[in-house]
Structure formats: structure tokens, C-alpha cells
């Protein structure tokens, strides 16, 4: 069991870390919450059925939600992530490089739901199907949502170019 867990840990740590970091925008909180995620995963590893990565990612997601709930008393079922996650200037989590700066800025135009999908798809490297499983949506619905998000980003970036 321990070896299998270590394999999963090695495979998924980077994606889990980036997911939590981008969600919270804080190095300190990311460190705490990632550790908590793997502790929970370790203690419940024997209960794992199905695909490990979405399972682990769901634990991370719930750990972050739980953290904000405890912090701000948000009732379950409400749009708690809309209110609290991704609530910081995105520049802070990216290395200070000029490249992609328009794209970074354009992330500000996305809703919290859309940011969650960008995070899961591109920063945590999940497949459409896996995201669908996590969020309770079909694979095609997620695919369509990703396409729309990308189109929105293209529009925002084009507008910025025109403005300059």
C-alpha cells in the first residue's frame, strides 16, 4: 500500500500543489493545505476505488473549501468558491516574467467557475472526463465550457492589443 501511495504522490504532487497554490494565491496556505490533502489521502488510501488522480484532486478541492468554510463560515451548497477562492491578484502566483502578461491579465475577466476549470484543465493537467467527474458534469459539457473560456480569453487579449 505504501509503495502505491508513494507512486501516486510522486505522480501527482506537482499538480496538486499548483492547483492549491493558484486557488489560494498564498504560498503558506498552499503548503498547509497540500500537506493536509496528502495526510487525508494516506489515511483513506484503502478506501480508494476508481481513478486516483481525480480522487486526490477532489480531496484537495474539499480541503480548500473546508479551509475557507472554517475561516469564513460559508454554508455548504452555496457558491462559496465564488466568494473566496481566486480572490487575489494573479500576478502573485506566477513568476515575474513579462511573457504571457496579457494572458495573465485576461484571467481577471473570468468568473470563479471558469477559473476553476482553467486551473483543473491547464495547471493541474486533468482530462475533460476527470474534471466532469469532479464537478458532476458530463465530459462534453466540460469540453464546451473550456472552448468558451478560451474564446473569451482570445477576445479579451485582442481587445487589449487594439487598445494599445
Amino acid at each position: 500500500m505504501k509503495n502505491n501511495f508513494i507512486k501516486l504522490y510522486d505522480k501527482c504532487f506537482d499538480d496538486i500543489y499548483r492547483y492549491v497554490y493558484f486557488k489560494t494565491g498564498s504560498k503558506w496556505e498552499a503548503e498547509d493545505l497540500v500537506s493536509e490533502t496528502f495526510r487525508k489521502a494516506y489515511e483513506n488510501f484503502h478506501l480508494l476505488k476508481g481513478e486516483p488522480k481525480p480522487w486526490l484532486m477532489s480531496i484537495a478541492r474539499n480541503t480548500v473549501i473546508d479551509f475557507y468554510r472554517r475561516k469564513k463560515d460559508i454554508m455548504p451548497g452555496s457558491d462559496e468558491l465564488d466568494n473566496y477562492a481566486y480572490n487575489y491578484p494573479f500576478d502573485e502566483v506566477f513568476e515575474r516574467k513579462e511573457e504571457l502578461s496579457y494572458l495573465k491579465e485576461s484571467l481577471n475577466s473570468l468568473s470563479k467557475d471558469e477559473l476553476e476549470i482553467v486551473n483543473l484543465r491547464y495547471f493541474s493537467d486533468l482530462k475533460y472526463k476527470q474534471i466532469g467527474e469532479m464537478l458532476g458534469k458530463t465530459e462534453s459539457a466540460i469540453k464546451m465550457k473550456v472552448t468558451r473560456i478560451n474564446q473569451k480569453l482570445i477576445e479579451v487579449i485582442k481587445r487589449r492589443y487594439r487598445e494599445e
Binding site: K27, S35, E36, D125
Partner: protein
């Protein structure tokens, strides 16, 4: 530009999110090499809601209270951030121990020893309590009064689309209210602008209104002697008899104490300097000030400082800017709406942390007595336990850049004594730390060297003293050991009576050592598997007699099973223990605190002490002398309480 291009760019961005390789290595090592894991667990999450400071655990003696000293002689007995208000809040109002808090968009709440609960719905922006504590005047655009005993609302003045009545404040005579009449007008292009901002009073019986001045944030001084208000970022005092106006100071949100002796206000101090050939900088720091009403003396009573994030931004610009640049730096905190308690001895202030972006309600208590070195160390310890790093740093002469860490984190302290060494004041203290949910407990003795300042003492230096140690599970997981200079096996896990052990899988969880009683209080977390649900056993082990005792076997919290433990704290005299618990079956993640009297194992569920309050979460913070400091999350707000073990009662702040 097409979708493929964007996808590639987003994937490239992923690599710009920095990875914490050290954490990865550290955690992996724990999984691969140790059975007893050392976790970095979000103590902040378990302790819940963002840090806030409690320093007023020692109550003021009536004779120590200020009567009539000038503002410059006021000393701050404590500075307590005790409520975490969701979103934002308007004016606080206090009368005789009950605090009324206005929560935007929700209503007016009262906070006292019976709990925290809503007293009426109001979409109000400002509020003030009458001097007899019976009525609240508030504004939701209209000017209204709420009679607290009769629970009855009366409209005094009705707003229209362009006229609003705001910032009411009672006259001590109870027959007049002073307020602001705001008239707005649409702009030609879009939005609105304020056309008039005038101060009026209303005579409650006749409803007659009378203009007194132009400005905002008004309050009366000793009935109709004078009024104090804000105009163009200045605090102004106007004599109502001869109509003369005097500037008290630059500042905002002035508030007159009910005894008519002082005015408190927020003042922003600006300091400009040139830091390199191209770059100049300006600091804008908010602080609370108190002035005598007769303008004789004034005093700054908070010690705000530059937001550290802005310092690092400024450093980057300073070193890279090739063009003339001006850097604006702001304080870590912004302050709003200081309001006095009914006895004029405490000031309630809204404090916005510009980094954490949360609003807290802070109470500043005044004394005319000199604060001791022990008071400062006590404040410092409590700031550490509550992770109020900024406040802790403000008490140190040369603070380190990082002070608090996730785990092990401080869970308690004890002041051991004080004295002088080579002419320097010192205080000896013991600090206790623990890992969240893990069987690791640390105790360390430290000597704090301090020097006096006009405001109290500052910590110059901290040195470790001998006598500290650790209680933890041995590397082979077979025993619990006490490590001082050498290792001592306290007991082997196989020695625990089998009746006390779970049937299925388990691990040791939080524990705490009482050195005075030579007793270890420890917990066993039963893990959920096919044969059992999660549960928590609380036990004690007497080191002298090698005797184990079962204190409690917690299978349920209310009706919810699958119980887990997050922490355990014991009081400095080791007579009581408190545990933080949660149920994995509870979809709302509610948390509970049980307190045990260790002399008879009698249990108190803190929730049962609250009336009219349905808490969403209860957490222990730390155990002060005779009170367990708790935070209770309810209806979106986090409030502090103290459980007094001697009386078995809760006290609010």
C-alpha cells in the same frame, strides 16, 4: 490567434507557478521513512478564522480605571481584536457589557455572554446607542430608532431618491439626535455626486430639525455645549453657544466619549522621502488618536506600520526603475469608526487588515497605570498563540521576518516570573507547542529581556533556557517518550489496557504533558475501517504510579458519529483539558469543544452554554490563567468567548 494558441499559452503558464520542492521532499520522506508522520497541517484552518488577538484576559480593577487624566497620560491596557466580521460592518455600539454590531446587509446583532444573535433585520450603514442603553438610532438611508426592550422600530426621517439621513449620534439628554443630511444629484454623464453634506439635529418630540454645521461624523459634547465633526479631513470642534469653530487635528471619524472628556479619531500620517536618484516614496499610515476635548493634549494609541508586501514591491521598483517614479506605501491596517463604550473606558474600532483583507472589531482598553514587563510578554505570547504575527512583531525591537509556523504551533503559555539581570528587566515564561492532531507536544522555557518605553515595554531579546523538552511517539511506534536532555520511556503502547484500545486500526493523536501533576493527557484516534467508525478516546497516564485512566470515549457529537480530534489543550494548573472535535458524518463540518474537569472527569459541551445561538463552529484558542479562550463561528461572524472553569460560565468580550 486561435484556441490552440491559447491552450499552448495556458500550458506554458503552468510552469510559471513556482513549485515548493522542499515541501515535496519533506513530505515524501515522511511517507517513505516514518510510520509516525509529522504533518504540516493547516493549524490556521483547525484553529479557524484568521488570527485575532486577545490580551484582555486579566480584568481591570475598578480603581485602576481612568477617571480624569489628559489624553497624553492614557495607557493602553490591552488591544484586543475579538470579532471577525464577514464582509464589512458599520458602527459598533456598546452598553454595559452588551455589544451591538451592525453587519451590512444582515442586521443588528448583540454579543454578550449568552451568545451572538440577531436582534433585528436592517439594511443599515450606521448606528449609535442612546446614553441610557435603551434605544438604537440607525440609518438605512432613512433615520430610524429601534427600542431594544419593546423591539419596535420608528421612522424619524424618510429619505427620497436624492436625500439621505446618516450617521446618527445621541445627545446625552436622550431628547436630540445629531445626524448628517446628504443630498446627491445625478452627474451629466453618469453616476451621482454629493451636493450637500450638512449636520443637523432633530428634537425627538417635536421632530423639529435644525442645521448645526457642514460636515460629517458628528457627535455632541456634554449635551449642547459643543459638537465635534469631520470636515475636509479635519476634526473640528464647534461651540454651539458662540458658534466658533476650532480644528482639533487632521483626521476622520471623530467620536466623543460619553463622559465628554475625549475625542477619538483616525489620522493618516504621510511621510515623504527620496530613496534613490529616480525614486521617491511616501508612506501613508493610519492610526487611532485620542485628544482631550479641551484640546490640551493628544496621543497616538495604535502602532500601525508599513504593509510588508508593499515594502518588497517598493524594493523591486527601487532597484529597477530607470524613470522618475513615486512609490506610495500604505499601512498594514486601516481603521474606521472608533466608538466608545458606555463607561468611556474602552474604544471599539473596525480594523481592516490590508493583506489578509478581513475586517475585525478591536477593543482598546485604557488605564492610567503603568504597564509591566509581564503584561508585554503576556500580550506577546497570546499574539504568538493566535498567530497575530504583526502584533507580536510590534512588541519586539528587532523582529525576525518569520515568527509563526504551521506546525508545531504554540498552544499555551505560562509566565514563570520576572526580575532584573545586570540592570535589565526580564520575564521568564514557558511556552507549549503541539502538532495539530498528532502526538507531539513541546515545552520550552525562555527568558525575555525588555526595556521600558513611554507606552509600556518592548522586547529586546529572547533567549532559550534549559528545562524544555518533547513528548512524542518513539520511532518504532511502540512507546511514548519524554525527551529532555535524555530520552525517558513514559509507557509502551502495549501497556495501555486493552479495554481502552479500539478494536480496529488506531493511532495516537493530540497529547499534553502536565509537569506539575506528572500526568500525560493523551488521545487515541480510532480510524474508520470495516470493523469500526472513527472515534476518540481521551486518557490520562500518571507518570508516578504508571496508572492509565479513561476520561472519555467519544463516539458521537450530538447525533453524528465518525468523530475525529484536532487538538487538546490543558490549563496551566493542569486541572482541566479541552478537546476540539469534528464529525466526518456531518456534511456541514461543524466543530465542537468539550471541556473536562480532570478531578472528576465531568464533561462540559461548550455548545450547551450558548443561548439563542446556533454555532457553526467552536474552537479552542488557548488556556489563559483560569479561562479557556474560544472562538465561536455563528451566522458568518467569528466571536471570542472565555469559558471560566471556576464558574462553568461563558464570558463575552
Amino acid at each position: 490567434m486561435n484556441e490552440k494558441f491559447i491552450e499552448k499559452q495556458l500550458k506554458d503558464m503552468k510552469n510559471q507557478i513556482p513549485m515548493n520542492k522542499d515541501l515535496k521532499k519533506e513530505l515524501r520522506y515522511n511517507f517513505s521513512n516514518k510510520k509516525t508522520l509529522k504533518w504540516k497541517i493547516p493549524a490556521a484552518a483547525v484553529l479557524a478564522a484568521a488570527v485575532f488577538l486577545i490580551t484582555a484576559m486579566y480584568m481591570m480593577q475598578p480603581d485602576s480605571l481612568i477617571t480624569k487624566v489628559n489624553a497624553a497620560s492614557l495607557k493602553i491596557l490591552s488591544q484586543v481584536s475579538f470579532a471577525d466580521i464577514e464582509g464589512a460592518s458599520g458602527d459598533p455600539a456598546e452598553y454595559n457589557g452588551t455589544l451591538y454590531i451592525l453587519v451590512f446587509g444582515k442586521g443588528v446583532y448583540s454579543h454578550d455572554s449568552s451568545g451572538f444573535h440577531k436582534i433585528f433585520d436592517a439594511d443599515a450603514s450606521s448606528m449609535n446607542i442612546s446614553h441610557d442603553g435603551k434605544r438604537l438610532a440607525f440609518s438605512d438611508g432613512n433615520l430610524k430608532i429601534f427600542d431594544i426592550a419593546e423591539r419596535k422600530e420608528t421612522v424619524l426621517l424618510k429619505s427620497d431618491d436624492f436625500t439621505y439621513y446618516e450617521q446618527p449620534s445621541w445627545c446625552p439628554d436622550g431628547r436630540h439626535i445629531i445626524f448628517v443630511k446628504k443630498v446627491i444629484a445625478p452627474r451629466e454623464t453618469h453616476g451621482f455626486e454629493v451636493k450637500q453634506l450638512d449636520i443637523y439635529e432633530i428634537e425627538l418630540e417635536s421632530k423639529k430639525i435644525n442645521k448645526l454645521a457642514e460636515g460629517s461624523s458628528p457627535s455632541y459634547v456634554k449635551n449642547h455645549e459643543a459638537i465635534i465633526f469631520e470636515k475636509e479631513n479635519k476634526v473640528i470642534s464647534k461651540n454651539l453657544k458662540d458658534k466658533t469653530e476650532k480644528v482639533v487635528d487632521s483626521g476622520r471619524f471623530p467620536s466623543v466619549s460619553p463622559d465628554g472628556e475625549y475625542v477619538a479619531y483616525v489620522k493618516t500620517q504621510r511621510k515623504e522621502s527620496k530613496i534613490s536618484q529616480n525614486v521617491s516614496e511616501a508612506e501613508n499610515i493610519d492610526d487611532i488618536w485620542v485628544s482631550d476635548i479641551n484640546l490640551q493634549t493628544k496621543k497616538r494609541i495604535t502602532s500601525n506600520f508599513v504593509n510588508p508586501q508593499e515594502i518588497s514591491n517598493a524594493e523591486t521598483i527601487k532597484n529597477t526603475s530607470k524613470l522618475p517614479t513615486s512609490i506610495e506605501k500604505n499601512g498594514l491596517y486601516s481603521y474606521f469608526n472608533p466608538k466608545w463604550s458606555s463607561d468611556s473606558k474602552n474604544l471599539y474600532v473596525l480594523k481592516d487588515n490590508n493583506v489578509a483583507q478581513n475586517m475585525k472589531l478591536m477593543r482598546i482598553s485604557f488605564t492610567d497605570k503603568k504597564l509591566t514587563a509581564e503584561d508585554t510578554v503576556r500580550s506577546f505570547m497570546q499574539a504568538l498563540v493566535t498567530r497575530d504575527e504583526e502584533f507580536a512583531k510590534s512588541l519586539m525591537k528587532n523582529p525576525p521576518s518569520i515568527m509563526t509556523v504551521s506546525n508545531p504551533h504554540p498552544v499555551g503559555y505560562r509566565i514563570l516570573g520576572s526580575g532584573q539581570e545586570n540592570g535589565r528587566d526580564y520575564v521568564d515564561a514557558e511556552i507549549y507547542s503541539a502538532y495539530t492532531a498528532q502526538p507531539d507536544f513541546y515545552f520550552g522555557k525562555e527568558r525575555y529581556y525588555l526595556s521600558p518605553t513611554p507606552y509600556g515595554y518592548m522586547i529586546d531579546e529572547v533567549t532559550g533556557k534549559s528545562g524544555g523538552g518533547t513528548v512524542r511517539v518513539s520511532k518504532d511506534d511502540k512507546s511514548v517518550i519524554l525527551q529532555r536532555e535524555s530520552e525517558l520511556v513514559l509507557f509502551n503502547i502495549k501497556d495501555i489496557p486493552t479495554d481502552y484500545l479500539p478494536q480496529g486500526k488506531y493511532r495516537l493523536a493530540s497529547l499534553a504533558l502536565s509537569e506539575q501533576n506528572n500526568t500525560l493527557i493523551f488521545t487515541i484516534q480510532a480510524l474508520q475501517d470495516a470493523s469500526q467508525k472513527s472515534s476518540v478516546k481521551v486518557l490520562s497516564y500518571n507518570i508516578n504510579t504508571s496508572e492509565f485512566k479513561m476520561i472519555d470515549d467519544i463516539k458521537n457529537i450530538g447525533e453524528k458519529g465518525n468523530v475525529g480530534i484536532a487538538s487538546l489543550v490543558i490549563d496551566p494548573s493542569s486541572n482541566h483539558a479541552a478537546v476540539d472535535l469534528f464529525s466526518e458524518d456531518d456534511p456541514e463540518f461543524k466543530t465542537s469543544v468539550f471541556v473536562y474537569d480532570l478531578s472528576n472527569n465531568q464533561k462540559t459541551d461548550i455548545k450547551s452554554l450558548l443561548k439563542n445561538t446556533n454555532p457553526y463552529a467552536i474552537h479552542t484558542r488557548f488556556w489563559d490563567e483560569d479561562g479557556l479562550e474560544l472562538e465561536i463561528v455563528t451566522d458568518g461572524q467569528t466571536m471570542s468567548y472565555s469559558y471560566k472553569s471556576a464558574s462553568g460560565k461563558l464570558e463575552s468580550f
